[in-house]
Symmetry: C2
Amino acid sequence: MNPQNPAQIVSGRVGMVGAGQLARMTQQAAIGLGVELTVLAESKTDPAVLAGARFEQGTPAEIEDLRRLASLVDVVTFDHEQVDPDWLAELEAEGVNLAPSASAKLHAQDKLHARRALASHGFPIPDFAEGSTIAEFDQFAAVHGWPVVAKAPRGGYDGRGVWMLEDRDQARELLATAPGPFLLEAMLQIEKEIAVMVARSSGGELAVYPVVETVQREAMCREVIAPAAIPERSAAAAARMATDIAGRIGLVGVMAVELFITEGGLLVNELALRPHNSGHYSIEGCVTSQFEQHLRAVLDLPLGETSLTAPSVVTVNVVGGNSGDGPESRLGDALAVPGAHIHLYGKQTRPGRKLGHVTVCGQDADATAKAARAAASALERGSS
Amino acid sequence: MNPQNPAQIVSGRVGMVGAGQLARMTQQAAIGLGVELTVLAESKTDPAVLAGARFEQGTPAEIEDLRRLASLVDVVTFDHEQVDPDWLAELEAEGVNLAPSASAKLHAQDKLHARRALASHGFPIPDFAEGSTIAEFDQFAAVHGWPVVAKAPRGGYDGRGVWMLEDRDQARELLATAPGPFLLEAMLQIEKEIAVMVARSSGGELAVYPVVETVQREAMCREVIAPAAIPERSAAAAARMATDIAGRIGLVGVMAVELFITEGGLLVNELALRPHNSGHYSIEGCVTSQFEQHLRAVLDLPLGETSLTAPSVVTVNVVGGNSGDGPESRLGDALAVPGAHIHLYGKQTRPGRKLGHVTVCGQDADATAKAARAAASALERGSS
């Protein structure tokens, strides 16, 4: 029982590490189910706190703060990956109910770990190597040629922690500034990037969402198109991989599986063990949103239907520009676009920052995308 | 600027008098739009406060509390009708932006006022009279016969404030306990009860929702079936009446117009100038929910599309029984019903109290209703 409010009638108490837009939208879903969501927030102006989630002020960089959150709730989950894996294992040893578990979550926290695990289970992944020395970089380049892509195994997102190395001089330079190890990859010829959201409850029930296309610009996902315009066979294979991975790693909650379509076939790129930008379309576009599904899964409630509510669903992110007003000042322009579902995150505008998103559901893929882009660009117009 | 939290980035500040389930679901919609909702709540355990709306503790029975709410927001609106109309006029005279206005709101607060206004504008309504003396009751009964239905013009809801008088002895008895005046009506032969939600922004933009059938049991709405299975001509007439009334009374916000279908045609029964139980289906069942539409209207933002998202949408209320656990203890059973969208209000269970609702969207009216009833009855099973 939460001592702050003993009279509350709730269906379950969920703690979430992080209080960004994913926690904010989880709060919206929690209201309907009567679930009490408590977020670990660094600030009272974090998006989920502004949306009215209960909060414990604290940081995932302090294990005591994580412990305090855990003491208030039935299950602890995450709106990001930035938590020390060793601490998660420690909390679990103390009896904290983590969803996903520390060992499952590691597949989203450590890219090298994820690649090795996926490879060992036989999932198709891009060629990779671990590189900590210039000799290892040279060895990889000898097979795959320059440029080599080096990724920090931990901590990167939206293009951060990724280096495109044109030659061994740049590799030396990187090694001089950071110790490694790095995940080394070749430049891939990617035809399309796709993603699949899958949910698994602690009881083992599985639910997989439609396969979507993700359109990236400047290393950030800008558009999500559901369903992906790809052959049925590829979509079925991607969905099967997602559910297989969920079972293999013992997922609890939702997980986004990001894949590349290449000439050689499907390759699994990354896993995110939490609600994900590529699943925002599901709020209006699927019978059960990824946020409600995540709550159902971590509370071991029956999972919901994942089918699309319309033939075409498109989500476009709203990203901050270099100057100007935030998107809230242009809300009216965006709402004038017929069918535009607007989601603002209550964040201060900053260049390259995701400030919100727009989803449109429609009959025709082109018209739907056009409407979603129109509303998103109206919201972005204040900042340029 | 709200002094509690100067750093918040918001699209608009809306105050709501009342903090029940309507305010709770308005809070869900406010999160998406980046609107800051502040409710006037009597208790920290009111449904909207539990959902995380900002709140001012207070009661609509104190004009100072209403003033304090008004001082924090751009516009004041309502989740119920129980506010003194004279105070609303006073606040308006002081410069408070009420949506709807005091004079419009009166049509939902005073049944006699509403009937007279609707009659004077030529809308079809049930025969009625004002009755304060036994002579006036006798006069009405002489034309329409006994029983006579007497209604308190102000303060009643869900069957409260309504008396079925079998004869003049019962009329005398009522007059001895309460001074009147009463709204007197004959027993009507009602074929169907229907409702139409309409929205009007302060700029005059109008949006009307599909006509729904409302199924009452024990004077409480139990089911809402969208669209109503009635002739197209009747639906069009009802929608036209709703928009005409909205314009006539200068509505700002959403309004539910409740109508009877009788042998003699459509009759307008009551108006509710706020989000309404008969519009809950719109959360999943329409492109724009009544709650988002209400926020758009009171902030003079463009109104959203009102079309159905599926051929059939059915909402069933979850009502407390005489004993037992609350519905939150049966959440899993209800979520096991495919396609069931559950909304729990976080209220203590009490006999006859609305504790939540379930909506299902489907292809076929019978199957959709069956699924919604199954999920609602699973939630009610804990209390009997």
